[in-house]
Amino acid sequence: MTRRYRRLVDLALGGRHRIDDEMDQEIDAHVEMRIADLVRGGMSPDEARAEARRRFGDFDAARRRLHAAARQRDASVRNRDVLGSVVADLRTATRQAKRAPGFTAIAIGALALGLGATTAIFTLVERIVLRPLPFPHAEQLLAVSGLDSASREAFTVSSADWLDWRSSTALQSSAIYSFPYRQGIVAGDSAMRLTAVTATGGMFRVLGSHFVVGRPFTESDASDGTPTVVISERVWRQMFGADPQLSMPLRTATRAYRILGVVASDQGFPEGVDVWFPVDVTVQADPVRVNINWLMIARRRGDVSTDQAWAALTGVARGIRERDPTAIYDYGVATKSLTNSVIGDVSSYFRMLIATVGVVLLIVCANIAASSMARAQARAREMAVRSSLGAARVRLVQQMLLEHVWLGLVGGCLGLGLAWASIRGVLAVWGDRIPRANEVTMDGRVFAFALALSIVAGALSGIIPAMRVTRVSLSGLLQSGGRGSAAGGRNLAGASLVSLEIALALLLLTGAGLLLRSFRSVLSRDIGFDTDVATAEAALSGPLYATDTLRRYAYWDQLLAELRAIPGVQGAAVSQWIPLGLTGQGFVDVEGRDATGMGAVYRTVSEDFFRTLRIPLVVGRTFGAEDGSTTPRVAVINRVMAQRFFPGENPIGRRIRARSQEPGLHGQPAPWLTIVGVVGDIRTYGLESDARAEMYVDFRQTPRRTTSMTALVRGSTSAANLLGEIRQRARRVDPNIAVDVGTLEDRLHATLATRSLAMSLLSAFAAVAALLAALGIYGVLSFAVAQRTRELAVRSALGARRGQLLSLVLSAGLKVALIGLAFGIVGALGLSRTMKALLVGVTPFDPLTYTGAAVMLGIVVLAAILVPAVRATRMDPVIALQAE
């Protein structure tokens, strides 16, 4: 057996020479023997030498050929040796597995769980976080926005700033685009709504998107006035029958747009958009730098780093800031990789999850190592005998390792299935709330990862038992009759591994507990309005509505009348921006003061808005019949705004105005609005963020803002039951106007999706970890009891009471458990700090969570300890001693 390994060593030390020498020796021996024979036959030594060489043909050439042949032989022998021993060991592994089906099933099951979870999370992280967006040289793509005086990122930009920034030489190209909005489309005689953005002509040049047919729009398409559009592959197939000629236009109620091209399915941006309209912001330039209504993407030059691009843009921005005091978003710029800006805060959750599954997998490995070591004590005799028969230790280690790698591979195969199923599950539940979810697939990289991880996990769980079990003292073991425990120190390593498992499980339970408490604390917050409300979003388009203000009011009045007529409806209103949706924001000035520099969310609503959403009136009044297009302009503000803008003052009767908010009034001062009431605060961006300053204006006083609004309806039953009725009644008002219906409750859930996904996954992993730790301590203790059968039987025969035997086993188990819990708490205290960003309403050191997690894990572990302990006391000493 050692020969094989000597060969390997020889190879490392320049085996070629050794093999050539060996061949030479063999040839020389042959020649010498031949000469001896020939001389004995009567030839002279010289003649004999010549003859002996002649028999090789050309002697030197033959020698060279034989060197080559010998090397080839050596290589194939070596390959066969390694392969042969691996195959033999794998065969042994299968045999061993059959001999211990219980251990094998549990080990494979645990590995399948651990590997499956790790593979699933890896797939999600690789696809969503690590992989660049599917555009050529995606690393050059940047999301750019300005910084305010406090270096806060504005996220959006004004077209005026973009026009200045885009000239920076660090950028190859750039574009700005609107937030996605819903656009009504006429298809045949029915109306529908698609998600659209308006973008400057360079959008697709920046991205480098692949087009299925046609071409992207360009700056000249944007400026020449002919209505053109680019559509998604999905719309092209569903609405245009995949017509390669693009002969049909895309129609809205007012215009027909010539389709220039079709973007390939994953090449659109932002995700989920179906229609892109080109716009030229230089034609009717908006000179106001505070109107940050656009999002900006840019492609840096290939020879410029992101940092250099940032530096160049910062220079441009500061230059603007110096000459223009209104440039309040030019204190600097933020340049983020477009990939990161798309992923957003999901990546911090995924980082936590990948650490979590790593810990679960570690627990799995420790678990298998511990139980395999306990089991291997029984195999110590086999190892000792094999080693006495000449098996090298390295060979025994190889065998043990391969047994575990075998387990890893089988577990990995099952794990792939689990991963596939769980990714399906996650995408089914959370798919529409996770960015880039449509890009998630399992490919060759995932399989390679799973394979490599299976082997590593198998080897990791095998290395400690392999090293320990093969380090047996032969004489000691054979003398002791092979009753295990000869290696001394009663499975100390096994106990340490189980302690480690318990510590890691507690770590995860604590993390899950903290997230769970955060989630509950988020849910317990008051959102400030009733979310059991149905929404119906509609945009009035078409020649009828475009110019005729009265027509638009007529539509909304009719719609509201229809909605109020639905049986059981308790309130209906319309609003331009609804809570939990997009918002409009702007700077607000107070009459008689300098520019405040403070902003507010700006909402246009009908008079029943507050009643419908049950937003309480704090002081003054809300909008009513007394407000109309001809009466003085009024506003309602919320508490936050009242405190921020009028601290210690009465806001009622004060006059405010939003700076240049209304479209078409760029640069002109908006009219003053008199504050008539203060209402309660709402968390318009969801429970995770705080209430903002908000101002409300009456929609009858802002006719320009009435083209696109959302109706809100509160009924006596669940809002979801109203949706069908709302759709029908909206069609009755005008069949050409399509509405999107939904509920505020759904929108609320969407804002919590990431948190709930992370919490659910972490809780599931923590539960698995706790279970594994319990299994681990159960396995090790059961085995210890089985190993000490003789000792326990003797004690019992000598009169030890059951209680004494019970406490003997219990104390051994409890020691292991307590050490694990102690280390777990210390580890959790250290690690939970990294979770701080994800915690709400709970500190990373929340004592309740720590106690709860420790108690929960303690109970599970205690149950696992009790079973073997009780079994030890039930033993009949006579039978136990006879079995020996």
């Binding site: 042959h30 031949r34 090789f56 043909g57 010998a70």
Partner: protein, 115 residues
């Protein structure tokens, strides 16, 4: 000994002869060569270079295993012996060879009778 009446070896025959030779026990290369010369009474021309080529190839295929040992007259030599795979190979190759020669002989006998 390479006289005009030596027969050139048919392709593949040398492997079979070596396997057969080694079925008597481990031997070094020179012993195999002389054993073949003696048994064929000099009618088979085995080039020594070809013999060692064959030994390397067969060892590489796992039919033979080799080990250094000491010869009768105290000389270090590399001893070859059959492996289990080699024994298997010998059995199947001998069968094929015998069937083959039997068929060829039968045809030749018929042809001779006819002429």
């Amino acid at each position: 000994m390479a006289t005009d009446d030596t027969l050139p070896l048919l392709k593949g025959t040398l492997d079979l002869l070596i396997l057969k030779t080694l079925s008597w026990g481990p031997m070094h290369g020179y012993a195999i060569a002389t054993w073949l010369e003696e048994r064929s009474r000099g009618t088979l021309g085995v080039d020594d270079s070809a013999l060692y080529q064959a030994l390397q190839r067969m060892e590489g295929r796992g039919w033979l295993a080799a080990e250094w040992g000491t010869s009768d007259n105290n000389r270090r030599a590399r001893y070859y012996k059959l492996t289990a795979a080699g024994r298997q190979r010998l059995r199947s190759e001998s069968e094929t060879w015998l069937r083959y020669t039997k068929s060829v002989t039968a045809i030749l006998a018929v042809a001779e009778r006819g002429s």
